[in-house]
Symmetry: D2
Subunit: 262 residues, 4 copies
């Protein structure tokens, strides 16, 4: 069983690169499942039903989200109607959508849980308790579990990795848009990485046109951000597991756009 | 010219590992300069004169700091008296210490600048303007410049990398204690990495005993943190440059404690 | 039915002034109930069992708390054992203590609910939902309800006033240590004030010695705060109600220490 | 010499009420100067040249602003061209506008300084140092000085009051939109109030339609705020002084809209 997880897809460049590379990555890594964080796919903020449909049509099995979940109003009913698109489980129960799901491919059942950090981010309920609750809800219904912890602070992410070590197949972090160099299988058998990075323009500032991001920080004036198109990369990980709820391996993917990509 | 830069040294385990590995790393990488972020070296928070003296005595050329600079009161006068220990340049001018220095080794003059991010961290003045001011102050007095941007938000760190690209030899990020997988020489010739990581116990939560960090997040109660000793690693980068203010190469170092290390 | 509510009692000066003035205020306002916010009573941060016992012994009926609840470890078991001391109801259920209680005096049953804001303050669960849950739990068991909303942001406090208008006798704000000039009975019959202020040294900075508070802000260096003793005032409100869950009147009390008070 | 200072004017209801009441308040209080915080006057966020012109045309002498200064792009050049409209002095020097001015009426020269808090608000430079710098710049050029400290935290506001006590005529706080009950002349002769409150719809939540503010807090979903028109009040203070840089008196004004106001 192999899971290809792809970090925050940012804007048009990120989306196009994902769709372009997906077939070969899937084949190359013999991916049983493809899970993608899509919180920045609609022009940099949020996701629309049309884009979500497009991702599913191209073979994405589960879409996770994060702090930008509710930036596009059209997605609200879609989040309730579609099982395989997740928003952080520790948002309020009353907010549109849900935080975990189960998908089955090739006879393997994968549970996916989406969480939001509580430091520097607004999430109505605590991540750690909700992680435990989600695992309880999935018990007996899954062969593997992948957790996407969408968070700013490394402390929360590393801690939830240890907290879930030996209880889930993988804990992957998202949100900072910068890949970390700490992918490994923890002693209890859980694959872990603090941040998968983004799928978007590495020539920008975490996906935003670099001139605009710098202007904002230098001038401290309001600046309207636009997604960069400069030097897109796909960033992800492949997690492989043979025993239930355990990983054998986690491999980091940092793939530049192919020559001539537009 | 080669600079060995070592990320936030955390507690006793980090300090001992640094001192243990320094001779061989220095030789192996033919390090002209050794620069170390020491903001967590005294029991996890701050630095003392005794420890700073020890680091200098073992061949560290420059010590940089960060948000924990002022946790140990004994260091205040030391910061004013010693040229080669830096606190972020964009702290208030009235705060103890200074934010840049020049050291010379083997006929090469290295300027080092320490900055603090302004997002989620308390720094009295803006990092970007102070970076420009420090470079202005160093003009004509240095062959190379290394900038340690101690910051939480990836946006600030990536942006300052681009802002300084082509004007300094290297911009290295610190503070999150997790190494990033984005080390590279930017198009203008500046070596860049978002975070070098820490030198401390990878078996903890960014250096803290993992049971304590998890307890704090799960219970939301006050917990007294202690540095972990579990599975120490040294994390750093080596930057090599031949032309003034330009890097040829940046290499990431992720080195576990040798067998039998205690 | 009259409720005397006294704002955050700060340090020794605040505690002594409260105990000094309590008998005459109780008589003067014919107070059926005395409710006191005690989150700063132990040297400025938190409360101890000994001080809580002392307040109860002097006729305080209910003690409410806030963000400083857990600063004194000795209070943890006390919070679980004593019904009439409250910490914010929207802390985690697993944290020591509880967030509402009922006390009966002169045949009148008063429910008291303690809440924490979620903006700029750390509270594990949302205030608004928990307010509704607490009222549900009190239904049929009380004649009157007083809510202490301990919060920084005026938006949250004004909003919860409107949210509960017509459903409780009074919503009083605490935490900023500065009394507001907006006490009134809202159209639905709920007495409201954004902040009651503190009972402590008005000659300080919200209870802290003013030289220390100014030094901290001017120098941006760590400063150990001590409670001020300069010019203590008692700040509170008296809420009067004759119909169940409705207030007729809210009167603001701003009372300087009597001449010769020490 | 009397200064009428009016707190944050919010939206159309606030602006219309201000213009309606200004003539009689000016006469009633024999106001030498009228200073108005206008950061929310354009639909709740920011100010436009047209509205600023209208305020000046109706006899406002100085307009102060705050964290919403740059929400309306059209005001940027206006801030540079017009002396009597201020943005916080401790914003970056490079940001449009300036932070202090001097106006003369009836032979009296009034300096006005606008500051922003540094806690919970984004201001590029520290308020306390900039306050000192502004007073230095005004030395010898003014008979009286009024400081508008636009800040969230009561600690910063009370502290700057004490810091400037005896050096300026008045320190008035703005931003929270709720008037405080602590107006007084400090021992050194400086009139002080932590917050003047707002001029806008008291039937809303700090000026916003109450249904929208409550919806936002209850649902934690994005909500587009609109200014309330319900129950507008003018909130301000009148400061009177006869000796240079000293106040004799500060009087709080809390004035409901007259019957039939629309
Ligand atoms: Fe993202
Ligand atoms: Fe995010
Ligand atoms: Fe650190
Ligand atoms: Fe740090
Ligand atoms: Fe308090
Ligand atoms: Fe508090
Ligand atoms: Fe305002
Ligand atoms: Fe404001």
């Amino acid at each position: 069983m192999n899971i290809l997880f792809v970090g925050d897809v940012v804007g048009s460049a990120g989306r196009r690169l994902l769709l372009r590379l997906l077939p070969e990555l899937r084949e190359q890594h013999d991916a049983t499942f493809v899970v993608v964080n899509g919180e920045n796919v609609a022009g940099g903020v949020g996701i629309t039903p049309k884009i979500a449909d497009e991702l599913f049509a191209h073979g994405v099995d589960v879409i996770t989200l994060g702090n930008h979940t509710y930036r596009q109003r059209a997605i609200y009913p879609y989040l309730d109607r579609h099982d395989a698109i997740l928003r952080p489980a520790n948002f309020l129960k009353s907010q549109p959508g849900h935080g975990h799901c189960v998908v089955e491919r090739a006879g393997v059942r994968l549970g996916v849980v989406n969480l939001s950090g509580n430091l520097f981010l607004k999430a109505g309920r605590p991540a750690f308790a909700e992680a435990d609750a989600a695992l309880h809800a999935l018990r007996g219904r899954v062969d593997h579990v992948l957790v996407d912890m969408h968070a700013e602070a490394t402390s929360e992410k590393v801690a939830i990795g240890w907290h879930l070590d030996g209880r889930v197949t993988a804990v992957v972090g998202t949100h900072t848009h910068v890949p970390t160099a700490d992918a490994r299988v923890l002693p209890g058998g859980t694959a872990y990485i603090t941040d998968v990075g983004m799928t978007g323009a590495r020539g920008g500032v975490i996906g935003v046109k670099k001139e605009l991001a710098i202007e904002s920080l230098v001038t401290q004036m309001p600046v309207r951000f636009e997604p960069s198109e400069d030097d897109p990369w796909l960033m992800g990980v492949v997690i492989s597991g043979t025993s239930p709820l355990r990983a054998d391996r986690i491999e980091q993917l940092l793939v530049p756009a192919p020559a001539g990509f537009r």
